[in-house]
């Protein structure tokens, strides 16, 4: 275990997150049981709903803070490892090891998946809670809350395990170990991701799914305003948003990272954050677009259609549109800049 201020803070937050996950699941189950046993005891149920709400709001705040904190911890490990020049080098700690360190790369991969999932699930609970606040708010959002608790528990346990696992038997690769496997020309065309071959395709696919997601969100918004429901357009828009996740990740790694950091043979997303920090805003906008479409769909599919919910869905669809449009605009501007 490497002990520094950031890893100490992250370990504390991870333990709190795991405990909150347990508390959310237990309290949620307790509420469900109480509702079945004494459905008319409104006071007691309300008190438990309030407890659940306070736990969930605390968990939501911690989930958002834990995402960047995890990467700050990984960054703080970089000077500790010979041969590691960025987070990519830290992530490869344990590869080829026979001891407990062999689990470290898998744990990092799991955490890179659970961090955004946790924020999305927590956000889903929040929008369902807001959508149902005129009724029995926490009850309507209870399934999302239980899922939030489970993901929080898994994420907290995985991060604690990662932080306390001894990091030995590291085999240095090269620099940050993320140089592109294929060769190609060092031309301006390649630097901006317009080179022939797979990079060209990744760029086209990224713009295509982005434009389709904006079009889907706009059509759903239009339908919602005119007909009061967005179902016909919302489903394809959400499907596009789900498809845009792997396409966006591939584009980020193979095209955006080498192009925007000015290093045509270096496919390292973490180095991109260091050399072009504004890319974090673009990634944040893209994630906001994906999440907002998912949240809008969860209201539409899980909550009854009324004026309040329609207004919230409209707001989320507009947010999704801004997210995708902002990300596409930032990429376009960066491509055309000298």
């Amino acid at each position: 275990m490497i002990l520094n201020a950031l890893s100490g803070a992250a370990a504390f937050v991870a333990v709190v997150r795991a405990l909150l996950g347990v508390a959310l699941v237990c309290t949620g189950v307790w509420v469900v049981m109480s509702r079945r046993r004494a459905p008319r005891d409104r006071d007691r149920l309300d008190r438990r709903y309030h407890l659940l709400f306070v736990l969930a709001v605390t968990g939501f705040g911690i989930a958002i803070a834990a995402w960047p904190l995890f990467y700050l911890v990984l960054q703080s490990y970089v000077p500790e490892w010979p041969g590691a020049m960025c987070i990519q080098g830290v992530i490869s700690i344990g590869q080829g090891s026979l001891g407990p360190a062999r689990h470290l790369p898998g744990l990092v991969a799991l955490l890179e998946f659970t961090k955004p999932l946790l924020v999305f699930v927590a956000g889903t609970w929040l929008v369902l809670h807001l959508a149902g606040r005129r009724r029995d708010a926490t009850r309507a959002a209870l399934p999302a809350l239980l899922l939030f608790g489970c993901v929080s528990l898994v994420d907290g346990v995985a991060e604690t395990t990662y932080l306390v696992t001894p990091k030995r038997e590291y085999i240095a690769e090269t620099c940050c170990g993320a140089t592109a496997p294929t060769a190609g020309p060092t031309s301006r065309a390649m630097m901006i991701g317009m080179a022939p071959g797979s990079k060209h395709l990744h760029t086209e696919m990224f713009f295509l799914v982005g434009i389709l997601a904006i079009a889907g969100a706009s059509a759903a918004l239009h339908s919602l305003r005119r007909n009061g429901h967005a179902g016909r357009w919302l489903t394809p828009a959400v499907a596009t948003a789900v498809g845009s996740i792997p396409i966006g990740l591939v584009f980020l790694k193979t095209t955006a990272a080498p192009a925007f950091s000015g290093l045509p043979f270096h496919e390292c997303v973490y180095c991109l954050f260091g050399s072009a920090p504004e890319s974090l805003i673009g990634i944040g906008l893209f994630a906001l677009g994906v999440f907002a479409l998912g949240w809008a769909a969860s209201i539409f599919w899980l909550m009854p259609a009324d004026d309040g919910n329609r207004a919230l869905t409209e707001r989320l669809l507009r947010t999704a549109r801004i997210g995708y449009a902002g990300a596409l605009l930032m990429v376009t501007v960066r491509f055309v800049m000298p």
């Binding site: 060769a183 950091s261 000015g262 072009a276 906008l285 449009a325 605009l329 800049m337």
Partner: protein, 147 residues
């Protein structure tokens, strides 16, 4: 479109345009973007006369391998005095000392072979000879080898 949406999009464009002007102007490795340390600097002049800097011999070798270009000239830096010399005139030592942020390579470069031998025996490591000598293919015309 509402004013808020337009403001967000304009801010995104403004940040993208302004950000490159705020970056510090340090010399970075052409392969992986690491800051170039003066004692380990490798300079390649490519076929078009472009001057490219690298943080070490390994990165320079990898860049030549991946770009599939034949450099016009390769200059390395003598680790003892920081003076530049042609790669073909240098002696390379594969050092067993650590690789840290300030020492970005396992390979040390010496202008003087006796100095290189002394370094290898004192600090551990071995002199690279024959096919193991890095960055030699550009002059010999042989297929690229990697350190």
């Amino acid at each position: 479109m509402r004013r808020f949406e337009v403001t967000v999009l304009l801010l995104a464009v403004a940040v993208t345009i302004a950000a490159p002007f705020t970056r510090r102007d340090t010399e970075r490795c052409t392969l992986d973007g690491v800051d170039v340390q003066a004692d380990f600097r490798v300079r390649i002049i490519d076929e078009r006369g472009t001057d490219l800097a690298f943080c070490g011999v390994r990165c320079a070798g990898r860049w030549i391998e991946r770009s599939k270009t034949r450099p016009h000239e390769i200059h390395v830096t003598d680790v003892t005095n920081g003076e530049e010399l042609l790669a073909s005139e240098a002696t390379f030592v594969h050092d067993i000392q650590g690789w840290t942020e300030s020492v970005p390579d396992f390979i040390r470069v010496f202008a003087d072979e006796s100095e290189a031998t002394r370094h290898a025996s004192t600090f551990g490591g071995e002199l690279l000879r024959g096919a193991d000598v890095p960055l030699s293919f550009s002059l010999s015309g042989e297929a690229p080898t990697h350190p």
